[in-house]
Symmetry: C2
Subunit: 205 residues, 2 copies
């Protein structure tokens, strides 16, 4: 598993001349980092003087951030695996009509998975944005930049994952699938940009 | 060293109830990820048909990205260490006037280091943006989203690091230092936002 690599090894693996892990896995890690910063900001609020009234809410934040982080860590691998499955399908034999048909089917189903993997990252990351935003507005004032960095890194993860969704949609043939996903992409993009502005508007730095 | 931890361990360490590693180290890692994506995009361009005319330029990109990545990996630790040094200074005894004076001096010099550490990350990250942008405009078309993710992650690293600079400036007393750094912060911020728009404007997704 990629998350079992050291940071140095993971960076080496990205930098290499192999296409995976690439931007999709980096997006998932970025969102996982944001979730971790959120967890820390909430942890540094719980039990602190002056924050008794948000303690319950911050406990929920730590639980939600923990769940999303664990999802996103798994997504670092899922994104790369989905891409590799498409590559495997592309290398299938295509000598007979039956083989060609089978190959094309495998490529198309692989591409759908390679589209849904970053889509799931974007959906998780937008939730992380909201949690990080909660620590910015209600959490320990000393962790305000950690929460703000969390919001920005999660937003970047949303947009990065959606870039990967959009480039894969180009090679998919199922029109209904394209339409449905494109609609969701647009909503997520607008939402991420809008919410970042709102969540960071309270920061006076 | 933090970069010797596995990704999972590093995320755990961020999420814990200790203030370091926090947003500053996450920003450095984000920029290092962007540098790695840039290296990959350039590596996947070198030697590929149709990209002979940019081969020399892409070789320079890989070298520059490699150098910045190595700087940024070191910065993951530097940022946390600088913060810890401030905490150590805060915990110095302050019983006599001499002790108070020594303590205040140590705090102030520690805060300057804790400001210059993310400043260096922001300066590296803005260079990574440019390199990632080069792979977007001139690199292998198949890596366009990796380069774009690199641009966005590096920009987020710039802004994240600058948040940490700005919050530390608040507690620094040296007016000339504050003025000089504040000027640089504003320039870097504007530059990062402007260049992101320009570098991503060529992408039609």
């Amino acid at each position: 598993m990629l998350s079992e690599l050291t940071i140095k090894e993971f960076l080496e693996k990205i930098a290499s001349e192999f296409p995976t892990p690439g931007g999709g896995s980096a997006a998932a890690l970025s969102a996982a980092l944001a979730a971790s910063l959120t967890e820390m900001a909430a942890n540094l609020t719980i039990g602190k003087k002056g924050y008794d009234d948000v303690e319950g809410e911050m406990k929920v934040v730590t639980q939600d951030a923990l769940r999303l982080k664990s999802d996103l860590v798994a997504a670092i691998d899922k994104d790369s695996n989905a891409y590799n499955d498409v590559m495997t399908a592309i290398n299938l034999p295509g000598n007979s009509e039956a083989e060609k048909h089978h190959r094309e089917e495998k490529i198309q189903s692989g591409l759908k998975q390679a589209t849904l993997a970053p889509m799931a990252v974007a959906e998780d990351a937008i939730q992380v944005m909201e949690l990080a935003g909660k620590t910015v507005t209600k959490g320990n004032k000393n962790t305000i930049t950690d929460g703000a960095v969390g919001v920005m890194m999660a937003k970047t993860a949303v947009l990065s994952a959606l870039y990967n969704v959009k480039i894969n949609l180009r090679t998919i043939k199922d029109k209904a699938f394209i339409d449905e996903i494109s609609k969701q992409v647009k909503e997520l993009e607008q939402n991420a940009l809008q919410r970042e502005k709102e969540l960071l508007s309270n920061i006076d730095l």
